[in-house]
Chain length 564, copies 2
């Protein structure tokens, strides 16, 4: 049912995605069309690829070697300038590009980068855009990209030039379909723009094509606002910078409101389910009173009561200082990181699959002691949600829980208790926010616009140089664009395996927030001051010209600084 | 209870509002500090005030004349340049300023404008900022404003320089308190920055001081993001421009997301309870598929079923075109404009005050037929909310109803029905948003920053020229700043009376969306195209430099254009 819907959805997106009309653009959109996109100097002149040493895997190299017999061990490659002129241009290449998964600002610029590379560095090449994500590859739905078609999307947000989709190429039949499309279009190469799953899929496709002795090569590009696809060679996934700056603008505004009004606690849930990079970056940009980092909550095996108590403690201390307001950041995936919540949900799924929920609550006797305790601790609305709203598989829908509202309710209860005990004399009013969709499709920042263009240009260079199974990697991002490094990293080198249904599956491990890493350490060193003092920063709206317009996000700067 | 809370809240806001630390400002905040604030040319040289003809009232002039025996009929005044030098500077004026009601971007610049006027055009004047709104006047809580104190707030959002509050000066005791404060501080004048209620209050205070033969004069300034305090002489309230641009940025992002993803209908509720100016302006900026204007819903006596059907019809037509996505704007006050909802709520308040809600639903028999019908039509969650959540007076809390979620639920039900009837074959997924607090405290746009500074500077000029009971009015806003007109409009001329508790109360009528006005007419002429075609515009983040940075909002341009 869910799958059927999602296929329908892709069809909907693919079919009649109407082309943009630059004639109805806003002044800012129009001004962005001709915003110059500087290239790293190595991409400006003649260059050659230099291979590094053979690569291994992020974990279980033996299993990865078995899964990728043709690609495992291949070196990463770096572009270096050469003296010679690119007089013998590659000719007549046929390249495909696909957007995979959720939107991230800058995707259109990756496509522009590939296109411009082909225009400027090859003769008579063609770029096909597969429509609606990987399903477009399987069904051979595509559009031939032309300068006129691409132009209105330059430096614009969204993925609507060719739209995206969440399908995967998984079954033998689906690989066969992809093969047929590659043959039909006589593809020399394919660029897959996506997150960890999509890049894993890209690598499987590269392996498949190589094994079939096909000429079609596959290059990945790191995309996700969540920021959880990165490693030493790929220092950032695109879209993270823009999304965090959009959320931080809103958080900064809400902070100014909180301090002006003096009577609201704003509980802000931020997109980012699997990792808490967005919340951490927004915290570094805005200095909230509290920010939860899921990875820390998990590492410390914190309970929901711990989380509630931490908030309540800060609220009580602030009340003593006369501050009955504040701003609290909550990663979307917070409760996924709380072990006892996972346990409760697992037990509920089991019980609800077999039993009815009787009104007298006899079913609760099947819960383990700790889970029953937690269940009783939850607000009534959340209890009902857990029992009533289930997905087509009968499972509790954790993603539907509005954590920010749940926490407001639990904090209210705890504060009332403390008030009765004489330990709290303030007043509390919670306001809930969820910042998500607003950030996925904004106009890309100067950083994301330039970074994406370089990623696309590099992907073109890698494909034309005969590479496959690499992810486009642009580094040295804290230096001026001129000095950015460009290359491709072996996708297999990012991989580990997971055991699923008795089989090893390759996965690019999600990059979680490192508790020893520079961004978290900086946050941890400052949060106690932020909790009680008011050190709010309002980053303001993203600027494209003038002060602040070329700033890079804190996470990237701190990580690269720590590496240096 | 509610009142007690609100007083507590104000106390909280007032007490320990910590001063800003420009040292922790973001780059954009810092860059705004020295953003130049051009003055209308008439404020740059020597000027004199020229009185217009005697004024009347917006309605019931006889009653207004009785309520304001000292002020009624006084002329509005315009500033005109004179040849003479302002060699005889007024000296030693003592002026107070207060922020009243909800935040609006630009409030700090009004204060900067007053301050700079006093610095530049008088000798040795003092400006007091009353803390936490009108309560600060009554309790004589104030801070003496100095250049160092004011500087970090220049062009910054929020009201936290002196904070605001929602108290009113109403009872004889409260007027006496205000009098005592004015005497104690030896005030020559007071500037009240607020909305319709606050300016009404300002006028009552002006009348009171005049009647008491006190020297303290009172000048108002038009503030509200809602845009519902305006008239011919006062073409805009400040904050509306910035707030609408912030909301429109988010709406534009969500639109790009909708068209990229192809599977969500985004229901966006926008702040603005009493009037729908914000929704109208955001619609003109972004071209949503649907936008409801409360004033039209009321004029056409539409029902909730009408509203639901309109949405459902558009969704069905779009599905036939292959579009299973869209964006719908809903003013916060929508259901306040639906007559049958008002009727139902009135009946519920009556019934719930006297009866218990029995589980068998016998209480429902007391509802009138139409109200019962409507009640049964509502989603279960809303029914429960209506019955369970009541304010301290026992009344249904209409403001807590999340209209966007209610409409999603009702549209789902209607679509399922049509699906069964074979009239709809699309798929629908609703996403709800509320954009409110994010917009009240953003960094003011160049327009709001300049407009507010001129309003403040003009208020200083009016006070120093001996005027009272006027609202600072800056006009010709669609021309370059140089050509803006400056003056003061008699507050009594904006007033009408309302009958409350058997007495006439003066009110500045809220300016509702005029269905014959140019902004609504433009919207009405385009909405059918927007509904089915995709004409989305993404205004992008507010820019302070470069393209778009000096744009004025559509509402103002259209209204002024229609006047011209």
């Amino acid at each position: 049912m869910a799958t059927a819907n999602s296929v329908l959805a892709n069809d909907g997106a693919k079919g009649p995605a109407p082309p943009r009309l630059a004639s109805v653009y806003s002044e800012v959109q129009t001004s962005r069309l001709n915003h110059p996109l500087p290239l790293p100097s190595v991409l400006k002149g003649p260059f050659k690829l230099v291979d590094g040493p053979p690569s291994s895997a992020a974990g279980n190299p033996d299993e990865i070697a078995k899964l990728f017999p043709n690609l495992f061990g291949q070196p990463s490659a770096n572009l270096v300038p050469t003296g010679s002129d690119p007089s013998d241009l590659a000719g007549g290449l046929r390249i495909g590009v696909v957007l995979s998964g959720g939107q991230a600002p800058g995707g259109h610029n990756v496509i522009s980068g590939i296109f411009d590379y082909l225009q400027e560095r090859t003769n008579g090449s063609i770029l096909y855009g597969f429509k609606g994500g990987p399903a477009g590859i399987m069904k051979c739905k595509y559009v031939e990209l032309t300068p006129d078609f691409i132009y209105p999307y330059r430096n614009q947000g969204g993925f609507d030039m060719i739209c995206s989709g969440r399908d995967k190429i998984e079954t033998p039949e689906q690989f066969k379909q992809a093969e047929e499309t590659a043959m039909k279009l006589d593809l020399d190469g394919l660029v897959v723009i996506g997150g960890d799953d999509s890049n894993t899929n890209a690598c499987l496709l590269a392996e498949y094509f190589r094994q079939k002795n096909m000429k079609t090569r596959v290059i990945g590009c790191p995309k996700t606002i969540d920021g959880d696809l990165k490693c030493k060679e790929v220092p950032a996934s695109f879209g993270f910078d823009t999304a965090c700056k959009i959320y931080s603008e809103m958080i900064g505004n809400v902070m100014t409101d909180a301090r002006s009004t003096g009577k609201y606690y704003h509980f802000v849930r931020l997109m980012g389910r699997a990792a808490s990079h967005i919340t951490l970056e927004c915290a570094l940009q805005t200095h909230p009173n509290i920010a939860f980092i899921g990875e820390e909550v998990a590492a410390k095996k914190q309970t929901l009561k711990n989380v509630t108590d931490y908030i309540t403690d800060v609220i009580c201390k602030r009340a003593e200082l006369g501050y009955n307001y504040g701003v609290i950041l909550i990663p979307e995936g917070l409760i996924d990181f709380i072990p006892e919540v996972q346990q409760l949900i697992a037990e509920l799924n089991e019980i609800l699959a077999h039993d009815v929920v009787d009104e007298d609550g006899l079913w609760k006797k099947k819960l383990q002691h700790q889970s029953l305790h937690l269940f009783e601790f939850l607000p009534q609305a959340i209890k009902e949600q857990l029992l009533l709203e289930r997905d087509p598989h009968g499972n509790v829908q954790v993603s539907k829980i509005e954590t920010e509202k749940m926490l407001i309710s639990m904090v209210e209860t705890e504060l009332e208790k403390r008030k009765l005990e004489g330990k709290y004399a303030g007043h509390f009013k919670g306001q809930s926010h969820f910042f998500g969709y607003e950030g996925r499709c904004g106009l890309p920042t100067n950083f994301d616009a330039t970074y994406c263009y370089a990623l696309g240009y590099a992907a073109g260079a890698l494909l034309c140089s005969g590479k496959t199974g690499l992810i486009s990697s642009v580094g040295n991002l804290n230096a001026p664009v001129n000095e950015w490094t460009v290359g491709g990293t072996a996708l297999t080198s990012l991989m580990d395996v997971e055991r699923r249904h008795g089989k090893f599956k390759p996965v690019i491990k999600k990059a979680m927030v490192e508790l020893e890493g520079a961004p978290f350490q900086k946050f941890a060193s400052m949060r106690d001051v932020w909790a009680l003092k008011n050190r709010y920063i309002s980053p303001g709206p993203i600027q494209f010209i003038g002060p602040g317009s070329n700033d890079v996000n804190h996470t990237l700067l701190l990580e690269l600084g720590a590496q240096a």
